[in-house]
């Protein structure tokens, strides 16, 4: 099979299947959560559950100072990774063109030089994340194979994207094919690992925030 043929598959059938698994898988995961339902709270509220839920979805993005002071490196690295990853995914011009082709939506991107730098930063932050995971007793204790798999399938698209853009390691066509395949791997794996948090965090924050809002407590 030639690089062209692999690229053709990756861009066509491969992508469609991966996307279908990603969308169906994520919807299934959300259904698995929501279908369990929750009982209405019969206690007299002191505040608004809805307001608390919506507020917490936003505010929980920032760490509480007391916890930031204990883990500054891990928390800052988390931001660097998330911002870097989302920027290279959504603000790189060729990616935006793909989104436009698939969904008809378009938005301005960042200059490729900046994306390239952000890609490097994201790769380093992922390497640091792994180092922290392997060196912290708590993280090492908590980590399962699934955590390392999620890490790997997140790293690969960023790494291969960087290599493809900079024409490194493999001829461009071959590396581009590998890049797209790695994205497809990410999409296929995501619904079955902790990567589901990309959507479900909003539910979790909502539920805790709703209860807190109802009780009139901070969350």
């Amino acid at each position: 099979m030639t690089a062209d043929a692999i690229l053709f598959f990756a861009r066509g059938t491969g992508f469609d299947w991966a996307l279908a698994i990603f969308v169906f898988g994520m919807l299934l995961r959300l259904f698995e959560v929501l279908s369990l339902g929750s009982k209405p709270d019969l206690s007299e509220g002191r505040g608004s559950g809805v307001q608390g839920g919506l507020k917490t979805i936003v505010t929980r993005t920032l760490p509480r100072p007391a916890i930031f002071a204990r883990e500054p490196v891990r928390i800052i690295n988390g931001y660097v990774f998330h911002i870097g990853f989302l920027a290279v995914l959504f603000l790189y011009e060729p990616h935006i063109e793909l989104f436009e082709a698939k969904m008809g939506l378009s938005w301005p991107g960042l200059p490729t030089g900046i994306i390239n730098a952000l890609g490097v930063l994201t790769i380093f932050s992922l390497l640091l994340a792994l180092t922290l995971r392997l060196s912290s007793p708590v993280l090492k204790f908590l980590s399962t194979g699934s955590d390392y798999l999620a890490w790997l399938v997140t790293l690969l698209p960023v790494l291969t994207g960087y290599l493809a853009y900079n024409h490194m390691l493999l001829p461009y066509t071959a590396m581009l094919a590998v890049h797209i395949l790695s994205v497809e791997l990410f999409m296929v794996v995501a619904p079955f690992t902790k990567l589901t948090h990309m959507f479900s965090f909003m539910l979790a924050r909502w539920y805790q925030g709703y209860r807190a809002g109802h009780r009139g407590v901070e969350s």
Binding site: L28, R29, E32, V33, L34, S35, L36, G37, S38, K39, D41, L42, S43, E44, R46, G47, T56, I57, R60, T61, P63, R64, A66, I67, R70, E71, R74, I75, G78, S136, P137, V138, L139, K140, F141, L142, S143, T144, D147, F192, K194, T196, H197, S200, F201, L203, A204, R205, W206, Y207, Q208, G209, R211, R215, G216, V217, E218, S219
Partner: protein, 427 residues
């Protein structure tokens, strides 16, 4: 334990899993932040005390029962079912190593309410016969005698007689139509009767009527702590029946953390209907009195003092500003701990830990978190508003040779009430 009890435990945990719990497990990224929020982990350095790990058996049951992928893995033999050994191994983490303080829930970046999950997993552990024997005993006494410490009505009546004798004030029993029905914790009846006197004096000054039910004077709820909803419901129902029979407008939860959230927020959900009376924590009542000008104090303490926020009040009950406003009336030397209000560290004895003798050593270790907060401040008095915190703090301070008296806020306020003729105060 027999496999039948384990099966019951698993079934109970399965029933406790609802959409919020499922969203929490679906969202956990194993970032470990909850460990940094937990005094049991921070003080022991043992990763097993990472809060999310305490509900690992529940996570496995959720994955295997409520997710397609988990079911496939279980069918293929890729995951192990929760068994008796797991209950054995996790019992200590679920009860001894968690005071249900809720600090972990506040720091989780994806928003998981971990302490609520631990509250829920206890339901399964209790049913499976994997609850600490001291908690089982306390719960039995609560059901049979009406108090986890075995305090009966005559003991309360004796305290009321002392009150009358010492101050001339009455604590009226079973008075229908009173403004307030006051609940007490056994600890207050036996160890801190000053609280009862403080209430009597404050109510008299405020000109409010109050009563104590002879049938339901106990505020604490062992059913909530051990995690047996049926018993928790029965204990709530006793208070509800008494309050409705006496026709009071407001039930006052005493200086206790979990008693407040149990009756105020869990209660209506346990009995399946809203109340037709209000529930307030004593600090909320005092704050209302303050705002209405019914709480008149004189003189201020000058010693350097701080306030220990009971976890259940700040993180689950929303009583944060009231104690600060009230302390402002009677103290010139109030200083805040570095982590205070909703980020305060637990005393180490909440969630049934202080009633569980087996957990004593761990509790003492966890207390070092509080010790370091106090060492930083160098205070002369420690004020709080929970009898259980108070006894845990007193023990911890004693063990560490720290000479800091622990005072209940209500009684501190009562000591500063403006003396009016005939108000029964010490003269």
């Amino acid at each position: 334990m027999s496999s039948a009890s384990i099966e019951k435990g698993i079934r109970m945990i399965r029933e406790e899993i609802d959409a919020p719990v499922a969203s929490f497990f679906t969202s956990c990224v194993h970032c470990g932040m909850c460990a940094d929020a937990c005094h049991f982990y921070v003080q022991t350095g043992d990763p097993r005390y990472t809060p999310i790990n305490k509900v690992e058996p529940m996570r496995r049951i959720w994955e295997q029962e409520y997710t397609l992928w988990g079911r496939i893995k279980a069918t293929l033999g890729l995951s192990r079912k929760v068994n008796a050994q797991d209950f054995e191994a996790w019992e200590e983490l679920v009860y001894d190593g968690c005071s249900l303080c809720g600090r972990c829930s506040l720091v989780c970046p994806v928003g998981n309410d971990i302490s609520d999950m631990i509250r829920k997993i206890r339901e399964g552990f209790a049913v499976a016969g994997h609850a600490p024997k001291d908690l089982v005993g306390a719960t039995r006494r609560a059901v049979e005698i009406g108090s986890p410490m075995g305090v009966r009505l005559p003991a309360l009546e004796a305290q009321i007689r002392h009150l009358k004798h010492d101050t001339g004030l009455d604590a009226p029993l079973d008075q229908a139509g009173a403004d307030y029905m006051v609940l007490l914790s056994s600890m207050e009846i036996m160890n801190f009767p000053e609280y009862l006197e403080a209430i009597a004096r404050i109510m008299q000054q405020a000109g409010r009527t109050w009563t104590i039910s002879s049938r339901a004077f106990e505020a604490t709820n062992s059913g909530v702590q051990i995690g047996v909803s049926d018993i928790a419901t029965e204990l709530v129902q006793r208070v509800v029946d008494a309050a409705e029979e006496l026709g009071v407008r407001t039930v006052i939860s005493p200086e206790c953390g979990h008693a407040y959230t149990a009756i105020r927020f869990e209660g209506p959900n346990l009995i399946g209907r809203p109340y037709n009376f209000r529930v307030q924590h004593i600090l909320e009542v005092l704050e209302e009195f303050r705002q209405q000008g019914l709480l008149k104090t004189e003189g201020k303490e000058t010693e350097r003092m701080t306030f220990h926020d009971p976890c259940q009040l700040v993180r689950k009950g929303g009583v944060i500003q009231a104690p600060r406003n009230l302390l402002g009336m009677v103290s010139n030397g109030f200083v805040e701990m570095r982590d205070h209000a909703e980020m305060n560290w637990c005393c180490g004895g909440g969630g049934g830990v202080s009633a569980n003798e087996r957990a004593d050593e761990l509790k003492s270790k966890a207390f070092h978190q509080k010790k370091s907060q106090l060492d930083e401040l160098g205070v002369e008095i420690l004020v709080t508003a929970c009898a259980n915190c108070r006894i845990t703090l007193e023990e911890g301070l004693e063990q560490n040779d720290m000479d800091i008296p622990v005072v209940g806020l209500t009684e501190m306020l009562a000591e500063h009430l403006v003396e009016e003729p005939g108000n029964g105060g010490d003269t």
